[in-house]
């Protein structure tokens, strides 16, 4: 790639654009040409699979058994007929909301603490990014080992300190398994919140803080009346997007708890995976996420209207 800088004019002045032609005359063909590769990828690897998923959801297709027969709404009826279907939906949504609230709170606190000048701040910011850059599967495997019921580190520590008389199977009890899943979601996610909020805080003019100080606002007052309103847009987008991503998250529950014990942590992406890749029931596996789409669409519409509102302000 040629290394051009601003001081080196790269364009030799040539003929002016032809008369009567706008600067954008050739844009239509070129625009579509340049977008074409990306469009093909998105249509081929997202659009087509999306439609395919809808079609498969109306069949009884199974892995290794050909295309399957058309069964109409049978898969949807089957899923709705589960006694614990509504429980699974509530669980998925509740985990996402709790995790997002915790990530927001911890993220805000950390961002506020880091938003002061002190020595080593950049280094600290780097360390706090580790959970977010490190591979999720490694993070999850390490935490899973720490919480393991037999040889886990936490048990070793608690037993050696005398807190526990004997090993406690943290991941085999519904209550603690749920808490651990949410803990790992938060642990992995809050640094991103903190660093985004921190970036947002640094765009807030210091004059606003000075004015608030003159008006007699203390730390908390400045946080409530200057920082939070200043962060509104960043927080809105991060929270909405992250709610969707947390709800869709498959890797962490799959590797951490596998849905157990007795489906206490079975969220919808995981159930989809189990239906399709373990039971080979592709029709039902395709129907389940489609049934969750209205919920996600609602959040997506919220993101869109929020961004539009903020953009016009």
């Amino acid at each position: 790639m040629s290394q051009q800088t601003l001081s080196q004019p790269v364009v030799s002045p040539r003929s002016a654009p032809k008369k009567g032609r706008s600067l954008f005359a050739g844009d239509v063909v070129l625009g579509w040409l340049l977008v074409a590769p990306a469009l093909i990828v998105v249509l081929g690897m997202v659009g087509y699979p999306f439609l395919e998923a809808i079609r498969i959801s109306f069949t009884d297709r199974m892995i290794g058994r050909g295309p399957g027969r058309w069964v109409g709404l049978a898969n949807y009826e089957y899923i709705l007929g589960w006694p614990d279907f509504s429980e699974m939906v509530v669980r998925t949504v509740a985990f996402a909301i709790i995790a997002v609230i915790l990530k927001t709170v911890v993220g805000l606190i950390l961002a506020t603490a880091l938003n002061q000048s002190f020595r080593g701040r950049n280094f600290l910011r780097g360390v706090f990014m580790l959970p977010w850059i490190l591979p999720t599967y490694i993070i999850v495997l390490v935490w899973r080992w720490i919480f393991d019921g037999q040889t886990g580190l936490l048990n070793q520590i608690l037993v050696s300190w005398g807190v526990l008389g004997e090993n406690y199977p943290f991941l085999a009890r519904p209550g603690s398994a749920v808490a651990i899943l949410i803990f790992v979601l938060v642990w992995k996610g809050y640094p991103f919140y903190a660093l985004t909020f921190l970036a947002g805080m640094q765009t807030i003019s210091s004059e606003l803080y000075d004015a608030a100080k003159v008006d007699g606002a203390g730390r908390l007052g400045r946080f409530l009346y200057v920082t939070l309103p200043g962060l509104r847009q960043v927080m809105g987008v991060v929270i909405l997007l992250s709610t969707i991503w947390t709800m869709n998250s498959l890797e962490i529950p799959l590797l951490l708890t596998g849905g157990g014990p007795s489906s206490a942590t079975e969220v919808f992406p995981l159930l989809t995976y189990h239906l399709a890749m373990q039971n080979f029931r592709l029709g039902e596996g395709a129907a389940l996420p489609i049934m969750m789409l209205p919920l996600i669409a609602l959040l997506v519409v919220a993101v869109a209207s929020y961004m539009d509102k903020e953009a016009t302000q």
Binding site: V11, D27, L34, V46, L134, G216, S242, I244, T272
Partner: protein, 280 residues
């Protein structure tokens, strides 16, 4: 005004220090034990808690490298991550340029659609994508892994580059166009050189994303010859018996490239975060 407003400044600083210390310990705790366990003998790992390896050993690394095919997995991951990054950054840069600079029908719709593609649940696409890859004969191949990874990387990278292109001035570009430069020449000689920092940021995120990816790797490449490092390492745990030592050694090896890349390019990662276009 509340009583809280009268909290003295020194108390706030103390609070900050406590918060940072507690969160820091929570981050370091698992990473510290991962690192030290990699240097412990099996007996020590399961029998008792030691903060420092009693008898440091490299045998876990030897096992990870020679008995568990880690080098093969690393090679596979490197090939897939490099190819994906190259393809994604090229495709996305072109699309982002068109969507931010050119005027053509359909542009507004696509520019808006880019983000929303990225919000579609991955689990919805899992089944049809798997079937498509199988039908194309790409199961257990590098192209299969690359194609699957393109799906979400292209919209993400396009969105990131659109944000970057909107932030750089269009004046030089417009001047060049008025001087008779074609769009493509202007793209190649002006826009792309100006976008290098954005392209580096995007490349880091894509590479990191593919390197750390697990789900596609799990369903698409099940044979040893094409297995990705994420699946290879997780298989340690999925088997019945534990091999924490070699697994933690493998984890250290697997995360080294990511950490080195991150240290070298922290500036770009932070600027990408400021652009607010990152999954978290």
């Amino acid at each position: 005004m509340t009583i809280l407003d009268r909290i003295p400044e020194s108390l706030f600083r103390l609070f900050s220090i406590v918060v940072i210390t507690v969160l820091l310990l929570m981050i370091i705790f698992p990473l510290y034990f991962m690192a030290t366990t990699a240097f412990k003998f099996e007996g020590e790992i399961y029998s008792e808690l030691t903060w420092i390896p009693r008898d440091p050993t490299l045998s876990n690394f030897r096992d990870a490298i020679f008995s568990f095919d880690i080098p093969t997995y690393l090679r596979n991951t490197l090939i897939v991550a490099f190819s994906t990054t190259l393809i994604v950054v090229t495709i996305s840069m072109l699309a982002a340029y068109a969507l931010t600079r050119l005027r053509f029908p359909g542009r507004a719709l696509m520019a808006r659609g880019v983000l929303f593609v990225y919000l579609i649940p991955g689990s919805l696409l899992l089944i049809p994508m798997y079937l498509t890859i199988v039908r194309l004969g790409l199961k257990d191949t590098y192209p299969g892994l690359i194609v699957a990874n393109l799906s979400f990387s292209v919209p993400f990278c396009t969105w990131l580059m659109m944000g970057y292109l909107r932030s750089i001035s269009v004046e030089i570009e417009e001047a060049s166009l008025i001087d008779g430069c074609t769009r493509l020449r202007s793209l190649w000689h002006i826009v792309i050189p100006l976008s290098v920092p954005g392209l580096i940021t995007a490349a880091i995120f894509i590479f990191n994303g593919v390197w750390n990816e697990y789900i596609f790797a799990l369903i698409i490449a099940q044979d040893t010859a094409h297995r990705m490092i994420s699946v290879g390492l997780s298989n340690f745990y999925r088997s019945d018996y534990y091999m924490m030592g070699p697994m933690m050694a493998g984890a250290l090896i697997a995360m080294t490239p990511v950490v080195v890349l991150y240290i070298l390019a922290q500036r770009y990662v932070v600027s990408g975060l400021a652009a607010g276009a990152v999954k978290g």
